[in-house]
Symmetry: C2
Subunit: 549 residues, 2 copies
């Protein structure tokens, strides 16, 4: 059997090594366009930053190692320019040969990844404008830095954009960010990341949110970036990080079916419309775990695992790739932003019913030093409490909780199941009621009617017909409060019920506190004391502030 | 409705607060023997250490707060000395009254926790000998330290024992450890914690493993601890941390059914044999999630969640507590030891079939700075790959992986499911193939016959009939190797197959490397090159060394 793999990094090389482990005798040819295989794309920004100082570290497995250990026919600078599914032949361009060469296959894997999007605007081919996808990209950026670049504009505030901002700042540059959305990390719901925008500003990044680059104009050694809001930014370097699209042109030209989102369509065995041709990694369209609709998920974990599955299925095993849920994480200075499953936006876009809760627990017991607060949003199905998605922003312990929730989503757990999880507790690591249990409590309370929430998006309209009652302490109220709110500390609430009744004059009561815990207790007291129309602010003032930011 | 709760800490107070939230009008009486309620037992060692400097921090919720916010009839120094299930009356001793008083209940919760075990040996009532369960215990220990104690003996190397060792060392004491088992952390399998014993020794702790205290003899201001191995240790302070037992005497005297392990027997609603009487926390016997047999699990998470379930069921909800899986974690200096589900020992005791694998992955991508190696052991069912238990020892990221596995166990996942988990990956947090995915790969390989392991416990007997082949590099072999092993680096294996065949002379081949990865690849090569009887050492030399420690 002769297997040809196009693309020698995450999906491609994971397939190649697994193939060899499973079949010592297959002929395995890996064709890689570039000069590097098995490199850590994800480490590229950290190499620019200097955090990963040695370039060699990015090369996870060397060609020599791969050839020796896995007996791979590994060919660098071999670009596949055509696939002929009928003849089972690929056509290859390589500087080592004057004319294209051909290679026969029994089974083919297309693992060519994605392409960084380029803005189709004037000047986008200027030499100071770079995307970050490969080692040569990084070498070129490093060259510009060595040549004295002092100022950079990063376009796009996704993971790579934010990592690049921090990297360039670590190299001493002044950085400005241009992002079309009115928020950073556009995959997140905006209220979850408004503090990340603040954080960037605190670190000296000038933000241009809700703005787009219109054109790039060369000026002396620099370029001027013209924004949609009329501003111009003179800069030495532009990082274009506006997203990726599947590199599916090769497959399309070969007549393979693409999906509705432009990735290669595959079945659960990762076979394309031609069963002898597989595809894996960024280039394919996957099933979204939660939304059960086609999705493009350009992440390394799925790519690696897909490659492994392709290898197994090529060799006759029945392995399947079920779906991707888009679990992702990014470090922004000391803050971690993580998500898994659907966001509120994506649920709205897909017109799915959902409930949501917010909480702001500590990563570990408050009485043990250095507890750090995190902000957690959980989305779940009104019908059965099935977990749909989660977003967490904070410091320590964020990655842990998102992974637990990612596991829970994969296990099709409901919020009730979260209340039962027995997670590891000792004071340095968690709380007897872990944030995950807490999320389960809140969500179950909402589902079974123990609590009724009101939400930040109802503010300020809500103030027109409801009485806002702030149940925090007077000093907290004095320091900051919702303009229309009256103050009635939780500890005094029971005694104040008669006067509150009078004050409400039949109006609905909308409670709030700082994180939502005290006002939840207040809610329970009032609901059982003759108040019918009461609700408590989900996530409290912290979420309100994040929302109205 | 009048509800009486005996015991005002984790289970008791969680029930009380949830009761009040669900029922504003119930009469809720909390009877607590001591002077404190809602305190952080788990923080006690850290308070002695000075890590939690302020004593007030241990008091998670003050009586004033609890009375005000939750309208609880909270009575300190009220010890229940008898329960009369027929009359629905408890009898209470309190210094505030000359004679016992009585209190009627409609529903009763017994949440009296556990008692620290005392060794029944001569001298165990000496004033320098202390257990660590309550704030007064800690005050007494602190007093001994203030009085100039310089040397301590800790008896018992469980969680509390290890936390106390570190605490006392932080206070400047010289500490010796006496433990009956031949290992520290006796709930763990020994090979997983042999490095923890080393770590303690490196930190200056003198270990007496496999030894027991026989008697305590007063000598001047000190006491001499006489050990089973004939040694005597003169010390100023003895910490007795030899375990706990459920404080079920009160229930037993009231005629309530106890379980086979001595805890109060309860149904899934946490009702005792008298349906008006509930029990929760350390005092009950629970169902073991994995072994499906009665277990005593003295942990704060279960206690808190059980209290909440009792409250719900008392008020007519159908809530259930399904089982406990014993997820636990402890910090020993910078090392974290964590486990969930069954251990190999407990599986053997219960005569359950199991498979096991070992791996030693990094907490995050090796190319990103400061990656820390962890040691992971996974136990799973031979029939269907169902996860039975896990133990992890290492630095960063251990708590995350144990929580993911704890969630997977609760979800009844198999090792195949682990291969599919989509966990959050960016270089600072994990790897594209997370340690959890890796564990799934190894275990699936074992189950489907892709790999055959040999285990450290087979050594050295195995050397009598098998050829041990060390596939590491010559420099690694030179630095350390199994005496009987020959060296054949992985990169040269294919070429050396003919000579290896000759050398093996028909003997089985037992491969190994450092962590098990290279020898797994070697295994795959040899198995497909005419070698029938081959196996690769699970966990490699690292596990072998830990085993034969
Ligand atoms: C800067 C950066 C940071 C990232 N950070 C993260 C992160 O933190 N976490 C995460 O999960 N993911 C991250 N990713 C995404 C992750 O790297 C990708 O999802 C993953 O590499 C996709 O794997 P793949 O095998 O599909 O494609 P790639 O890894 O991109 O490999 C495709 C290979 O195919 C080659 N190729 C393309 N066309 C041809 C052709 N015609 N002939 C021959 N060869 C061809 C390319 O040269 C390339 O080497 C990051 C990506 C980048 C660029
Ligand atoms: C030093 C230490 C460290 C620990 N560390 C951890 C850890 O890191 N992680 C973890 O999960 N668990 C830990 N635990 C265990 C955890 O604290 C217990 O599992 C948990 O507190 C049990 O809760 P409970 O409500 O059953 O009992 P407790 O919290 O012990 O409360 C029982 C209460 O009942 C009172 N009482 C007893 N008898 C009577 C009576 N007759 N009348 C009135 N009142 C009575 C007692 O005075 C006590 O206050 C630790 C425990 C200790 C002692
Ligand atoms: C490195 C690379 C070549 C893959 O190599 P690989 O050998 O398949 O993967 P790993 O090195 O992670 O090893 C995993 C294998 O070792 C096995 N293994 C790991 N630890 C083991 C142990 N202790 N004992 C036995 N086997 C072990 C696993 O089971 C798995 O084998 P399997 O797939 O046959 O089950 C490929 O992932 C790659 O090119 N990576 C870099 C590019 C990249 O991923 N970029 C995007 C992210 S930055
Ligand atoms: C503190 C103690 C009294 C329990 O108090 P509690 O109010 O039940 O628990 P918490 O303070 O953790 O709050 C949890 C409640 O707040 C709710 N909540 C938490 N955050 C919320 C938010 N942001 N919005 C709305 N509700 C929220 C939860 O849903 C839960 O309410 P519910 O049980 O009615 O669903 C009890 O756990 C205790 O005594 N602890 C100390 C002793 C101990 O546990 N020792 C052993 C470990 S060291």
């Amino acid at each position: 059997m002769k297997i040809v793999i196009i693309g020698g990094v995450a999906a491609g090389m994971s397939a190649a090594t697994r193939l060899r482990r499973l079949d010592e005798h297959a002929e395995i040819v890996v064709l890689e366009r570039g000069e590097y295989v098995s490199y850590a794309n994800c480490g590229l920004p950290y190499h620019i930053a200097g955090t990963i100082a040695e370039r060699e570290k990015l090369l996870v497995a060397s060609p020599k190692y791969l050839r020796q250990t896995f007996n791979l026919d590994l060919r660098l600078q071999h670009e596949v320019i055509a696939i002929d599914p009928q003849q089972k032949i690929v056509t290859i361009k390589t500087p080592q040969q004057p004319t294209p060469i051909q290679e026969r296959y029994d089974k083919l894997l297309i693992a060519v990844g994605s392409q960084a999007l380029q803005l189709p605007i004037p000047g986008s081919d200027l030499p100071q404008i770079h995307t970050v996808r490969s080692i040569p990209d990084v070498d070129q950026i490093n060259q510009l830095l060595a040549d004295g670049a002092r100022h950079a504009v990063v376009i796009g505030a996704g993971y790579i954009g934010l990592e690049m901002i921090e990297a360039l700042q670590q190299r001493g540059l002044t950085v400005e960010l241009v992002e079309l959305a009115k928020q950073v990390l556009p995959l997140f719901d905006h209220e979850m990341v408004s503090e990340v925008a603040d954080l960037l500003q605190q670190h000296g990044v000038k933000l241009h949110l809700g703005a787009s680059a219109q054109r790039f104009v060369p000026t002396n050694q620099q370029i001027a970036v013209h924004l949609s809001d009329g501003r111009q930014i003179k800069t030495d370097l532009v990082i274009m990080a506006v997203g990726v699209r599947p590199a599916s042109q090769l497959a399309q030209a070969a007549g393979l079916t693409l999906g509705e989102r432009g990735g290669i369509a595959v079945n659960q065995h990762l076979q394309t419309s031609d069963p002898a041709i597989y595809a894996a990694g960024d280039v394919i369209e996957v099933q979204d775990t939660v939304l059960q609709q086609p999705a493009l998920i350009a992440l390394a974990g799925p790519a690696n695992r897909q490659g492994r599955i392709v290898a197994e299925h090529m060799l006759g095993r029945s392995s399947r790739y079920h779906s991707s849920q888009g679990t992702a994480i990014v470090k922004v200075h000391t803050t971690t932003c993580a998500m898994t499953g659907a966001s509120e936006k994506s649920l709205q876009r897909a017109k799915r019913a959902y409930h949501k809760i917010y909480l702001h627990p500590n990563d570990h017991a408050g009485y043990y030093p250095d507890a750090q607060q995190m902000h957690l949003k959980l989305l779940f199905a009104p019908a059965d409490g099935r977990i749909l998605g989660a977003q967490i922003v904070g410091g320590a312990g964020v990655d842990k909780r998102i992974d637990v929730l990612a596991t829970a989503i994969r296990a099709k757990m409901s919020v009730h199941d979260l209340t039962e999880l027995e997670l590891a507790y000792a004071p340095p690591y968690g709380s007897a009621k872990d944030p995950i249990n807490m999320a389960g409590f809140l969500a179950s309370n909402l589902l079974d009617g123990t609590v009724k929430f009101w939400y930040a998006e109802e503010y300020p309209a809500i103030t027109e017909h409801a009485l806002i009652v702030d149940v925090r302490n007077p000093d907290e109220y004095a320091a900051w409060h919702i303009p229309q709110a009256i103050n009635l500390p939780l500890a005094e609430l029971r005694a104040a019920i008669p006067s509150l009744k009078a004050q409400a004059e039949g109006r609905p009561i909308r409670l709030h506190c700082m994180v939502g815990m005290r006002s939840y207790i207040a809610y329970r007291i009032l609901r059982q004391s003759g108040f019918e129309n009461v609700a408590t602010l989900a996530g409290g003032a912290l979420t309100l502030k994040a929302f109205t930011h």
